[in-house]
């Protein structure tokens, strides 16, 4: 079905512009004359449909470029860090500038795609586990308004980081130390399921440490965020995604663009 009379939609568009204080006929949404409008319908056997079906399956550009980088490590003299003890970190990771995650989206200049994939979906397409985790951290920070975050394993080894204020390895080790203290404190209080520790690091920011288990291993997710933010719900969702990535089980079926919104 395509709409064949656009007068109401055009009228609604004009009213929306008025209500939002936009100039008349500005930006992408422009009035469409009935006579010139060609409904966008993909015919059953057209090439367009074939292309449209294949598009989500194509690898994303960063994943391809990173494969090339891995094959020629000598061409990257300025790589900031090399693979970690578990080989999870990619050979080349560019650290983002130290700043609070932007809360306000930049206005889009290009036409929005039909169904926009979520940031985490794109991250799953990456080759390296640490890249996926880093992209997940970035998406989490942007959604939740966090400053940065770190994922570490139970022994304090860094798995991924995003926008850490100090050395990420030090923060990861700190997570392990605090995690051990939390475990002991929980045991003393008879609360062995204690999994969250939060403390203020200055007048405006706090650190929240969350312990979670995957099979028999412990992991830590540590975020730095403003004290006014309630980080719990965002972190609960993110931990599920981290589990999916770390366990390498059916992450694609759960999050891939072929299973969009």
């Amino acid at each position: 079905m395509a709409l064949h009379d656009y007068s109401e939609l055009n009228e609604a568009a004009e009213m929306l512009r008025r209500l939002l204080g936009l100039p008349k006929g500005s930006c992408q949404g422009s009035s469409i004359e009935h006579s010139t409008w060609k409904p966008f319908l993909i015919e059953a056997n057209s090439e367009l449909k074939t292309i449209a079906q294949r598009l989500p399956k194509l690898p994303t550009e960063p994943a391809v470029s990173r494969r090339k980088m891995t094959a020629q490590p000598t061409q990257l003299p300025n790589a900031e860090r090399t693979g970690g003890a578990r080989g999870l970190t990619s050979p080349h990771t560019t650290k983002p500038p130290l700043a609070t995650a932007p809360l306000v989206n930049q206005p889009k200049t290009e036409k929005a795609p039909l169904v926009e994939p979520l940031p985490v979906d794109r991250s799953i397409e990456s080759v390296f586990t640490s890249d996926r985790l880093s992209a997940l951290l970035e998406a989490m920070c942007r959604r939740g308004g966090f400053n940065g975050g770190v994922i570490a394993d139970g022994s304090g080894l860094l798995l991924a980081d995003y926008n850490c204020p100090v050395e990420a390895e030090a923060v990861a080790a700190c997570g392990s130390v605090l995690g051990g203290a939390m475990e002991q404190a929980g045991a003393l209080l008879g609360q062995n399921e204690a999994s969250t520790l939060s403390f203020d690091i200055n007048y405006v920011d706090k650190v929240a440490l969350h312990r979670f288990n995957l099979e028999r291993d412990s992991f830590f997710l540590m975020v730095i965020c403003p004290q006014s933010v309630d980080e719990r719900s965002e972190i609960e969702v993110s931990i599920e995604q981290i589990r999916a990535i770390l366990s390498l089980k059916s992450a694609h079926s759960a999050f891939s663009p072929s299973n969009p919104i």
Partner: protein
């Protein structure tokens, strides 16, 4: 400072109640203290949140002076949301509810609640009657919900005209938060085509980036009388509503920045 947002649509069955409940829960977890007010005589919110097991009192009882506001409020166990249902309404009393909307007493009850909560989400009934009018008159924002059916989209101008009228005559603080597409079925060529056309014609600023899909998880959640974001069935739904809540707050910040750019920073002393 509290913000009251009405979730409305001229056409029924587009998912207003579901969106109010799940968005309210996410806002409650993010910002704390969210009140959900059910103004829909169908009482869907009370059923979907299991409120009727907590109290039979509601807004109608407050209006009739049969109950105090605090007696009619039902707070969730984790304090994320508080729900104010409609209460027990006899069929003969429904016209009185419409009268309360027109004489201002309904709006006054809603306004009186605003001091105690960060957000108040109003689940408005379908249409553009007196109850919707009253809700919009005491709100700072309106979130318009549309599905991808032709009838819904063709009713948008009439609803927007009402919003414009109320903003102009009764409530200059009223702001359109945006148009939220709901019940989107990605497998339906119809929905995809209509969405394409809507994105072509509507200004991009007006549409929420987040789409609420048609998902069986909503039905399963309603069987459990709980928000879908609390069930284990769909992580996708949880993420979507968290994103919607984040987007709503981003839009608030953007509007604040715009106001500051126009009026200059507010004076604290």
């Amino acid at each position: 400072m509290s913000r009251t947002i009405t979730v409305a649509s001229q056409k029924g069955g587009v998912g207003k109640t579901t969106i109010t409940l799940n968005l309210g829960y996410c806002l409650g977890r993010m910002a704390g203290g969210t009140l959900l007010i059910d103004l829909d005589p169908q009482g869907g919110m009370a059923l979907a949140s299991n409120l009727r097991n907590r109290t039979r009192l509601g807004l109608f009882d407050i209006l009739k002076k049969r109950a105090k506001p605090e007696e009619a409020l039902a707070e969730a166990s984790d304090s994320s949301i508080t729900v104010l249902g409609l209460g027990e309404v006899a069929p003969s009393e429904i016209p009185l509810f419409e009268e309360a909307a027109w004489d201002g007493s309904l709006g006054q009850v809603v306004a009186d609640m605003s001091a105690k909560f960060h957000y108040i989400l109003i689940d408005a009934p379908a249409g553009i009657g007196g109850v919707v009018h009253a809700a919009l008159s005491v709100s700072q924002g309106v979130l318009l919900v549309c599905d991808c059916s032709a009838l819904t989209l063709k009713s948008v101008p009439v609803f927007l005209a009402v919003v414009e009228h109320i903003k102009e005559k009764f409530n200059p603080a009223l702001r359109l938060e945006g148009v939220l597409i709901s019940l989107f079925d990605d497998t339906s060529p119809n929905d995809r085509t209509v969405l394409e056309q809507v994105r072509e014609i509507f200004p991009p600023e007006a549409l929420f980036n987040t789409l609420i899909p048609y998902d069986a998880a909503f039905e399963e959640a309603s069987l459990d009388a709980a928000p879908a974001v609390l069930t284990d069935t769909s992580l996708k739904i949880k993420r979507l509503f968290l994103e919607l809540a984040s987007e709503l707050r981003e839009r608030e910040l953007a509007a604040l920045h715009k106001a500051l750019a126009t009026d200059g920073p507010p004076r604290l002393f």
